[in-house]
Subunit: 357 residues, 2 copies
């Protein structure tokens, strides 16, 4: 039996587990999964996919750079690399990737707003990462650079009803999503891009092909099963659970910090959501905490001293007066975070009410 299994593995491998899906035009992608992704966006109403291409990648991670590659490809070899920009605070990987890959075609140049009135911006292509909702502060960002040479990559991984109101179906030229932020299965490394332009789609496909020869079938199968679970419940239950959990956490956190003069949170308003058909409260994935005291320039260190581990503002291109706290951990982790923050806030009062020596 064991012997039979062993050669059966090899036969199965050679015949049926090759690089390509024989029932989908030798594509590296499952057609069924693509169809379910389109259905999902239609049901949630968070993205227009009709008439657009869908491309799978290793999380949004790989697709970020595939998009930068595609938008900078026909760059003239003699001119400087295409600037890659983002609004501060921005997701740290945008900078890390462009730095590590060291391409001669593009270069991370930081704050997009500094390029709004740049005289070059009419001649040179500009690539802008727009994260909406933004990591770390949850804001529904829009591109700040306009004009025919400004190309935006919309990182839409948090644009699901557990993290934000869905005011409209997003319809940008390049939009990125991931299973990590939809169901939490970050370890499956599965993401997808929704792409309007055929040439950009083909360049990104080429990049993914040469980089990893597509996405593992096992990850595609896992994503299919997960998306089918979401679709079966018409999404209501998973998004309601997620929204309830995260909006409760946000409310508790806001209450805890409402009496503090030392720490402040980003402002997010209530907004009408077309998925829930009602006005809903904030439920961001992260808190973007600011240390308000002049001397608390290193907010990360202030929190760390109280055993609270965040991510320092500098990582997001911002001042270290800011820290990102994740609200996506387990309930135990969140309760501990709240408890420790509460202790810190209580100490503020102690100091205030202490008699002057």
């Amino acid at each position: 039996m064991q012997n039979a299994e062993s050669s059966a593995v090899l036969v199965a491998g050679w015949h049926r587990m090759g690089y390509r899906y024989i029932n989908n035009n030798q594509s590296l992608m499952s057609k069924e999964l693509e169809n379910q992704i389109r259905k999902l966006h239609g049901m949630v109403g968070n993205a227009v996919t009709s008439g657009k291409y869908i491309l799978f990648g290793a999380g949004s991670t790989q697709l970020l750079n595939a998009a930068v590659h595609a938008l900078s490809l026909h760059h003239n070899a003699s001119s400087p690399p295409t600037p890659v920009l983002a609004s501060i605070p921005f997701y740290t990987l945008y900078k890390q990737q462009t730095d590590v890959f060291g391409s001669s075609n593009f270069k991370f140049e930081g704050d997009a707003s500094l390029w709004m009135n740049n005289s070059d911006s009419n001649n040179t292509n500009l690539i802008e990462f727009v994260t909406s909702p933004n990591n770390p502060d949850g804001k529904l960002n829009k591109a700040v650079l306009q004009g025919p040479n400004a190309k935006a990559i919309y990182d839409r991984v948090y644009y699901w009803p557990h993290f934000t109101a869905i005011p409209a179906s997003a319809d940008e030229d390049i939009m990125l999503f991931s299973i990590s932020k939809l169901t939490g299965h970050a370890g499956a490394r599965f993401g997808w891009a929704v792409i309007k332009d055929e040439t950009i789609y083909q360049r990104m496909t080429m990049y993914i092909g040469v980089n990893t020869m597509g996405v593992p079938r096992e990850a595609q199968l896992r994503a299919l099963k997960l998306i089918n679970v979401v679709l079966q419940g018409r999404g209501r239950e998973i998004f309601e659970f997620g929204y309830k959990t995260l909006s409760n956490r946000w409310e508790n956190l806001s209450q805890t910090l409402s009496v503090s003069t030392r720490f402040s949170l980003q402002k997010i308003g209530d907004q009408y959501c077309r998925f829930f058909h009602k006005v809903r409260k904030p439920s961001p994935a992260y808190a973007w905490l600011r240390c308000e005291r002049e001397e608390d320039k290193d907010c990360y260190a202030v929190l760390k001293a109280a055993n609270i581990i965040g991510r320092r503002g500098g990582v997001f291109g911002a001042e270290d007066r800011y820290v990102r706290l994740s609200l996506l951990r387990s309930q135990d982790d969140f309760d501990l975070l709240l408890h420790r923050l509460n202790q810190l806030v209580l100490e503020e009062d102690k100091i205030k009410t202490m008699p002057i020596m």
Copy 2:
């Protein structure tokens, strides 16, 4: 029930399916899989892993570029990019990747042998891809460039007993393997590097992290199950089946072409194999066919006219007088290939014996 499933998915995702293995020091890699890979190499005797690092990637594909990145990283920005070289014929992806990624740190420069006496080679770092057994011709290549500045990346994906004799346990500084060539499960996109130097390991780890944040857990689980099947039978059955199949195919092909003056095959000799403990016949993954007639400069076209689809020599940096034929397809495909080649060879005789008009 459906509702419960739906929120259970999200809870499971948040708590247990994150990026990292909590039982392996928050690594992106499964420790159990790493251990089984070491056991596998020990059992087969094809690679020394003791005292070396193991890194997972998306097939060997992603690891190829991770290695180039690591070896070219501390390149001085003002000097020219590090040359990436290979012996002809070489696997086409080496060139494609370096071209597509357009890095300012490295550049594909083709034939390694042209750099053997290059005066620069003592000053400049050189990166040489060594595929052993070679794709396309199955030869057990060794690095042609020597000296302190010559860095070799050994692509060892075909170094298993179904494709070649194992004369010794490979012990190079960077060696790449993949599940695709071990069990045929190319669609799982799982490969691993065996790396001697800690700095190179760390740079490659950084590259994989920033590129895709590791390899999907689903692909790691699949690889673990497959390797366990191979280990259970102590490898004998799967490798014997593979060797028998491929050596039979090679023998049939050789016989068919032995009467041809139009087509020739690469020469591969019998060799002692330390896995099978005996001298064994050739069993390569590919045939590297040469069209011998002066006028058959486009061998691909000659074969295509007879409905035989190969890959043209130019793709491997060689003359188009060569074509690579895959011997890894299903038995039906191989039988058809043999039949059509036989027809072509029979036509040679017809032409020879035709009366001159």
